[in-house]
Amino acid sequence: MWQALYEELRDRDFVVIAVALDQSADAARPWIEKAAPTYPALIDTQHVVADLYNVVNVPTALWIDERGRIVRPNDVVFGSDTFKHITNLESARPLAAVRAWVRGETAGFAPANARALQTLPTALDQQARAEFGLAEWLARHGRRDAAERHFVRAGELAPHDFTIRRGSMPIRGMDPMGPQFREMLQTWVGGGRPYYRPLPDTRG
């Protein structure tokens, strides 16, 4: 779904790098094959990027400039309006912002503002990621019961981290769109906590 944007802007020294936080290449394959991307579409079974960038849900997008600097930190950006009826987030405005930035019509955030908008990981967040990492390894080695203990622990330590709580569901034999997810979402949102946390200017 990022292919059109990439095609439109690729001659302006622009690239999309898509990272699937999925349990296997095969889980992501149908979507990638359908999108037929000519930009790098990568598979991150161990949530390396979630750890490095403190990503706690998908989709999360950030802007990196020509010098390798983050000029717009973690934001919620959808490539299409497929889920708009659920998310209440339109894709048009964030995509227009990307276009304007790539064309040089606007800049990203100044460093102080970019920093102020970053959410940095706490020790608990990193403990949760370690528990997830152990669980993922145990699951991959057929230790389902042991894995389950640590998936649960990870979710308790970082209840806001849906790359852990929802992202682990397929590995644990749960339907990530099913009743367990709906109950999790209802409890979370019912407590007045947002499932998606876009930056203020995306929220509008």
Binding site: A28, Y53, V102, L120
Partner: protein, 134 residues
Amino acid sequence: MVTVIDQGRASEVEARVDGGRVLLSADALRAALGWELHEGTLCNDTMCVPVPAGSRLGEGGVFDLGEVAAALDRPLALDTDARAAFVGASAGERAQALGSLLAPDFTLPDLAGRPHTLSSHRGKKILLVTWASW
């Protein structure tokens, strides 16, 4: 044997599980995590960190993996039944890296297994997007 996973890299090392603790020899510690104790500091190939005052780390040639992780300010997830441990990344290190605004580098495979490295796109504007099938 215990499997120690250092941010994704797994090593099988000789270790003793004692209650909730994993006890390693100096050799096993070096093999699993790349750290060695030198005169009160833990060192790897690139840096040294002081061991907290009064620590008994390494006494009698025995290293408690939990104490090593704590000295390195890194989280430890441990399953003594499964004899597996995962040493994660320090929150302080991650926060400092993100706060520098220099985009943390990574290498990941595409569907065909070809590796791609973020920093090889230096000179371009990048939209880095995470998504998932779930």
